[in-house]
Symmetry: C2
Subunit: 229 residues, 2 copies
């Protein structure tokens, strides 16, 4: 059985690579098979259709996010935790960037995936709220309950919409760099800028510097004269 | 010529109504003709295809936004201006909500529209930056240039992604209430919460109360036990 499992994993990893490079919509199961130099029949032996491959990739993404989007257990949150969340979010968004680019289309064509995504997003919003509440308890942020709820919602929307924003705003929307995604993580970090306490300000300012990417670099394919000025 | 112009306008307005109610993807030119009790041939006399109708609706939306998204001329900005922008944004988002729901799909199927949208979004980002800079000059907000740029970007992303967020997070994604969109405008307002100056705080707090919609109401189709808590 071992080789069969390996082919199925290879299909998933090759699909991820192709989806990220060219967009999920441009890639058919035939493209994936040709890229791997296997027959379409071999691919269909493992996956009935492209949706089944996407479902596996979404599960991977979901497990990855679930693995780090948790408040620290048994101790107060620190600014170092903030760095950890930002780094993990950047890595997850970068690794599964095709999901962020084509999400709406993917959910439209698969009601099961749409239902799973709804549960995933509700879970992320709840854990996000707990994480922000932990930063408030630790004296790093100063916010009330309504502000935490609004901030979590905005963070979720920016994180899940950033790649699409890049794709609808830039001329050459297919090319996505890790730097461009990093700016999206910075955009989430600045959501809290007005709520940082004096005691945490220096440490959080260091994070701003670490994650800052000039907008011109994030939007590198937009012509110079049409950049934000 | 008068009746002909009227039919063409009626087609555009009926299309807007149907797109908003049922989503652009569920509505064909045949649906529009049947709804208006005209022949498909009569509709095609005015518009070669659905894309041409959408292009007119996008132009209307673009003109509407361009008409109010401007810094006040010859005077300092006031908190009343802020209320005006929020009200106008709410009205525009509500009136053309199908554009926000199906944007990615609409742009994918029409490269000309995609190019116009890129110019539109770049223009909005530039005017948005100027508007926020005006609030800083007027002593209503306290931010530096990088913060203004980040805030404008986040405001744009929240405004253009809110309807899609509702649609991917709620069970019954077709039903959109004006209250649900109002919460999106509130989400944009709270982006500045940490930057409001002491002198403007009371007036801005009144805006928070005016635009606040409980999340449970915005997400009214999501089951109670899975709401943010």
């Amino acid at each position: 059985m071992a080789p069969r499992i390996k082919t199925s994993e290879r299909i998933v990893q090759n699909s991820l690579e192709l989806f990220n490079q060219q967009g999920e919509r441009s890639i058919s199961t035939n493209h994936i098979a040709a890229h791997m130099e296997i027959s379409p029949g071999n691919l269909y032996y493992h996956f009935p259709n492209k949706q089944a491959i996407i479902a596996v990739l979404f599960s991977e993404y979901e497990s990855l996010v679930d693995s780090f989007l948790r408040p620290p257990q048994g101790r107060a949150a620190t600014v170092e935790d903030k760095r950890f969340y930002l780094q993990e979010l950047l890595a997850a968004m970068w690794r599964y960037r095709f999901l962020h680019r084509d999400l709406e289309h993917l959910l439209d064509s698969d009601p099961d995936l749409a239902a799973r995504y709804r549960r995933f997003s509700q879970r992320c919003l709840i854990y996000g709220t707990h994480i922000y509440a932990g930063f408030v308890e630790a004296g790093i942020l100063c916010m009330d309950k309504v502000q935490i709820e609004s901030l979590t919602l905005n963070a979720w929307i920016i994180l899940t919409s950033w790649v699409r924003f890049l794709c609808t705003t830039r001329e050459n929307s297919n090319h996505l760099s890790e730097q461009a995604i990093k700016r999206g993580v910075y955009q989430v970090l600045v959501l809290e800028a007005g709520f940082v306490t004096d005691q945490a300000r220096d440490a959080v300012n260091a994070l701003y510097e670490e994650f800052y990417v000039p907008l011109a670099q994030a939007l590198e394919d937009v012509q110079h004269d049409s950049r934000l000025s």
